[in-house]
Structures are given as structure tokens and as C-alpha cells.
């Protein structure tokens, strides 16, 4: 059943016009489907997990696993958590810190850097764009196993199809599908992941709304 590995493979096979394994083995298509899950997750950053982490006394770095950290929250021993301000390494020591608890962070390699230098263990929540888990059995699914949201499942099949076509040296067909794939990846990223917060202006009922000519599909 969709979106299982078996069904994703069947969908790729239908697009390749090879319903049973001949030119493309099941193992090869499974690898391409898993690579597709990785590519889609890497480009859309759509697997969003909140991971607990902790600073180490006198160590600036905190490790994490995932493509990248998008936000960091400091969890005090009492009181409410608070979001930290993202800086760059060149700003270390040059930003205002009120006390010794974490105030700022920045990404560096597979770690984040905390400013000021932690004087003790502090708890953090890391809002991470995560890696997908591998689909290893036919019943594993793109949502429950890999962690991909439904809006990008079809893209995984697209990715696997593209590289299966390259194997068959059908480069023009692969290129056509690749162009479409990239367009849909960008759309998914823009629609679902690239967010901004509301400003006060966004939530005020406007006095009047004017729609300019041409703003409604050429009206």
C-alpha cells in the first residue's frame, strides 16, 4: 500500500515499463528510492524534528544529527524556554549577554556553537531538518519509516525514475523528468517549509482592499 517501499518500486517500474525485475533489479530500485528520500529531504528540509541536547561546561560546541539546525531553544531549569538568537562565528564575544546561560548560537560543521561559552550544563531544544531513515523492507513506508510528509512522497518516485532512466541511457527522458522534479522540489520548499511569522500588520483587518488590474489572472 502507498507509500510503502514495495508500492514506490511498483510505481517506478510502471514509469519504466518494466513490471517485473529484468534490467532494473529490485535492490537497485530500492537504493534509488532511498536515495530519492534523502535527496527530497535534503532539498526541501521537510523532516522537521525537535531534538533535546545539552551544553557541556566550558565547551562551545554541541553536536547534532540532521541536515541542519534551524532554530535553538534554551530550556532553563525553571521558567519557560526561550528561542536563541542566531549569530555568525565572527560575532562571538561581541554580542550582549546578560548572564552565563546560552543567548546565541550559530551552525558550524556538524555542531552548533553556543555564546557565551557555557559555564555549566544547559538544556536545549534543537529544531532540526532531519535525515530520513532508510526503507529496508517492502512494508516500510515513506511517511512512518522515512518521516517524509505526504506532499513530497511522489517526488521520491520521480527521483528514482530519473536515475533509473540514466542507467538505461535514456538521457533526454531523464533530463525532462529532472527539470520537472527540480521545479516541484522548489515549489514544495517554498510552499511548505520557507515560512515567516505574522507581523502585526498581517493580522489587522485592513480598512479597504484594492485589487489591481492584472492581479487576478489577467482580469
Amino acid at each position: 500500500m502507498w507509500p510503502s517501499l514495495a508500492d514506490a518500486r511498483a510505481r517506478v517500474r510502471r514509469r519504466l515499463h518494466e513490471t517485473t525485475a529484468a534490467f532494473w533489479t529490485d535492490a537497485q530500485l530500492n537504493r534509488l528510492i532511498n536515495a530519492g528520500a534523502l535527496d527530497v529531504a535534503a532539498k526541501t528540509l521537510c523532516i522537521e524534528n525537535k531534538d533535546a541536547a545539552a551544553t557541556t561546561k566550558a565547551t562551545r560546541t554541541v553536536g547534532y544529527s540532521g541536515f541542519r539546525v534551524n532554530f535553538v531553544e534554551y530550556v532553563p531549569t525553571s521558567g519557560d524556554p526561550i528561542g536563541l538568537h542566531r549569530i555568525l562565528p565572527r560575532q562571538i564575544g561581541r554580542v550582549k549577554c546578560d548572564g552565563a546561560v546560552p543567548h546565541y548560537w550559530c551552525g558550524w560543521g556538524d555542531t552548533i556553537l553556543i555564546e557565551p561559552l557555557p559555564a555549566a550544563v544547559s538544556n536545549l531544544n534543537l529544531y532540526v531538518a532531519d535525515w530520513p531513515a532508510a526503507l529496508t523492507s517492502d512494508a516500510d513506508t515513506l511517511d512512518a519509516t522515512a518521516g517524509l510528509p505526504a506532499e513530497v512522497h511522489e517526488l521520491v518516485v520521480d527521483y528514482a525514475t530519473i536515475w533509473a532512466l540514466v542507467k538505461d541511457r535514456k538521457y533526454a527522458a531523464a533530463l525532462y523528468r529532472y527539470a520537472s522534479y527540480v521545479q516541484r522540489i522548489q515549489a514544495a520548499r517554498s510552499l511548505y517549509i520557507d515560512r515567516r511569522s505574522d507581523t502585526r500588520a498581517d493580522i489587522v483587518i485592513p480598512d479597504r482592499v484594492e485589487i489591481q488590474s492584472g492581479q487576478r489572472g489577467g482580469g
Binding site: R31, A42, K43, R60, T61, P89, G93, G109, W163
Partner: protein
């Protein structure tokens, strides 16, 4: 084989090249291509980021020259007992012209050649940390410890290892390196660690109490002595024999009643060291380079090279362009 280790990367590459084992493309050739492309991605995308914390100024010397291998220095942090502060980046033409340089401690830095320069001229030794984008360690095939063709020994495949940033290659030992030391009593566990130094000799080091034996494999591993200096660990072996004593170097690791567990334990990049979002870009680049070898697929190679460049730019932009928050990003206004 683990996901995206060298064996898996070559398997994925060979899937698309439609060559399941080495014929037109040798394994060595594909390994070289994969490592070359990884280095290229790290260089162009600046995505292998490290911190060099072994730097110090020298009194009356402007340059700090013991930087590790790096493509670029992104920031320099002055480490003092009471404070840590990032230094300001300048250009050599600004030396001595930056305001507020009446302090003795380093205030500014510049990158020049393979060194960084410090302003004002250091009057004493100061510890620095440098945030670098660097060449990644090569992806090494795993040593893949297993019973040797002479089954009293532990076989290893060829692999590479680093000692003090120097790369060494170890040749495969299919016959195996013999286990050493005391016999393990019936039903007890013993452990060994395979270590290697600059001379390339594989040393088999036994757990301190193998003669008495351990109650479990975990306890036996905990009984291994400290790693020899100037050596790296390659892997570990634990053994137990349910129907007699186990004599190292004599009893076969595949004999009846013997349970042997082999674990690769090398501190090496067995998977790409660049961030995971670049791993498929790496495969794409390697595929383009491999196809370029064959004149019949040169046009395809050119097309894939274009896709590779475009994918790398996408991920490089995504990786590098994480701007700091402005105050307005945090306020509700």
C-alpha cells in the same frame, strides 16, 4: 557494508554505470574519482568545517603559521581565561591603522597565504581558535575484520588511516594477523585489539586478563589496555569457546564451538566527511567523471556535469547562506 560507505558508494555508482563488477572501471579508479569529487565539493561549497584549537601566537611574530590544512579561515577567536572574543578580520594594508589597538592582546587578524597575521604585533603567546573550511579526510574502505584464509588469524582489507594529519595506506592481509597471548579458559571470553602505527605493522594487543578470561564479551573489551602511542585502533575481536580452551594463534576462529565477533573500530571517515546533503551530489559528480572516460558517453557526462554543478550550487547556497538573525527577526512588530 553500511549505507554510503565506500563499498556502497561504488555499488550505487556501478548500478547506474551498468557494470556490477570491475571491467571498464576499476575499483581503484572509482575510489579515486569519489575522493576527488568529495574534495572538490568541500573546496567549492566550503562545507567541511572544522575548528583548529591548537593555535598560538609567538611573541614578536606577526604570523601564526601552524594552521592545519584548510581552504579558508572564516573566523578567529582569542581564548583568554576571563573572556573569549572573535577578532576583527582586516586586510594587510590596514595593519597598524585600526583604531583601539593600544591593547597588548590580539585585536585583528588577516589571512595571507597559508598563515594568518595578527594585529597588533603579539607581545606574548596567546591561544587562538580558528574556524576553518578544510579538505575532508578521504573516504576509506573499511578494514572489514574477519577470520583469515589461515583461520587462526584476523584478516583485514586494504584501508587508509591518519596519524597526526599524515595519511597512510595499509595493504590487505587476507591470511590474517595472528591472535597473541594467553589461552582463554573454556566458556570464558577474551578480547584483542588490532592497532597500526606509521610503520604499517598491524599489532594484535590482548586484553590484560585473557588468561583468566572474562564473563562476557563486553567485559573482555573493557579489559583492553590503552592504545599504544602513535597508533590508531583498527578493530577488535572477541572470542569464546564453548567446548574447550581457545589458544590464540592455534585454534581456528571458525572451529566448532568458537564464537568470534569482529568489529571495525577505526576512527576514520568510512562514509563521506562532507555533510549528508552533499552525498548524492558527490555520486552525481562521480558518475559524470566516470562516464567522461568513455567517448561514447561523453555527451551524457557533459549533461551530468552541468546537473552536478547546479546541484552543488543549490546545496552550497543553502549551507552557507544562513544569515544571522536581526533584532527585527526576534521581535513581534
Amino acid at each position: 557494508m553500511a549505507d554510503y560507505d565506500m563499498t556502497d558508494l561504488m555499488l550505487r555508482l556501478r548500478d547506474i554505470l551498468s557494470e556490477s563488477s570491475a571491467v571498464y572501471w576499476s575499483d581503484d579508479e572509482l575510489e579515486d574519482i569519489i575522493n576527488d569529487v568529495q574534495r572538490e565539493i568541500a573546496e567549492l561549497a566550503g562545507c567541511y568545517q572544522t575548528i583548529d584549537s591548537d593555535l598560538a601566537t609567538v611573541a614578536a611574530t606577526r604570523t601564526v603559521s601552524n594552521l592545519g590544512a584548510c581552504y579558508r579561515v572564516n573566523a578567529v577567536e582569542l581564548i583568554q581565561s576571563a573572556s573569549r572574543i572573535a577578532l576583527r578580520k582586516i586586510l594587510p594594508r590596514q595593519i597598524g591603522r585600526v583604531a583601539n589597538l593600544d591593547q597588548a592582546a590580539p585585536q585583528c587578524w588577516y589571512e595571507f597565504g597559508s598563515t594568518i597575521g595578527i594585529d597588533p604585533l603579539p607581545a606574548a603567546e596567546h591561544t587562538l581558535h580558528a574556524y576553518l573550511t578544510a579538505p575532508p579526510p578521504e573516504i576509506s574502505p573499511a578494514p572489514n575484520l574477519q577470520a583469515g584464509t589461515e583461520p587462526e588469524g584476523v584478516a583485514t582489507d586494504d584501508f587508509i588511516y591518519y596519524l597526526s594529519d599524515t595519511k597512510y595506506a595499509a595493504a590487505a592481509v587476507p591470511a590474517g594477523t595472528a591472535l597473541t597471548g594467553s589461552a582463554i579458559p573454556l566458556g570464558k571470553y577474551g578480547a584483542w585489539r588490532l592497532e597500526i602505527g606509521a610503520d604499517g605493522t598491524l599489532d594484535m594487543v590482548a586484553a590484560t586478563d585473557n588468561a583468566t578470561g572474562y564473563a562476557s564479551a563486553a567485559l573482555a573489551l573493557a579489559g583492553l589496555p590503552t592504545l599504544q602511542s602513535a597508533h590508531v585502533a583498527v578493530g577488535t575481536v572477541t572470542v569464546t569457546k564453548s567446548d574447550g580452551i581457545f589458544t590464540p594463534g592455534t585454534t581456528s576462529l571458525t572451529a566448532t564451538g568458537v564464537t568470534a565477533a569482529f568489529t571495525d573500530d577505526i576512527d576514520l571517515a568510512t562514509t563521506p566527511a562532507i555533510p549528508k546533503q552533499f552525498w548524492l551530489v558527490l555520486l552525481l559528480g562521480a558518475l559524470a567523471r566516470a562516464l567522461a572516460k568513455n567517448p561514447q558517453t561523453a555527451a551524457a557526462a557533459q549533461m551530468l556535469e552541468t546537473l552536478y554543478a547546479s546541484e552543488m550550487r543549490f546545496h552550497a547556497y543553502d549551507f552557507q547562506e544562513q544569515a544571522p538573525d536581526a533584532y527585527s527577526d526576534l521581535r513581534y512588530e
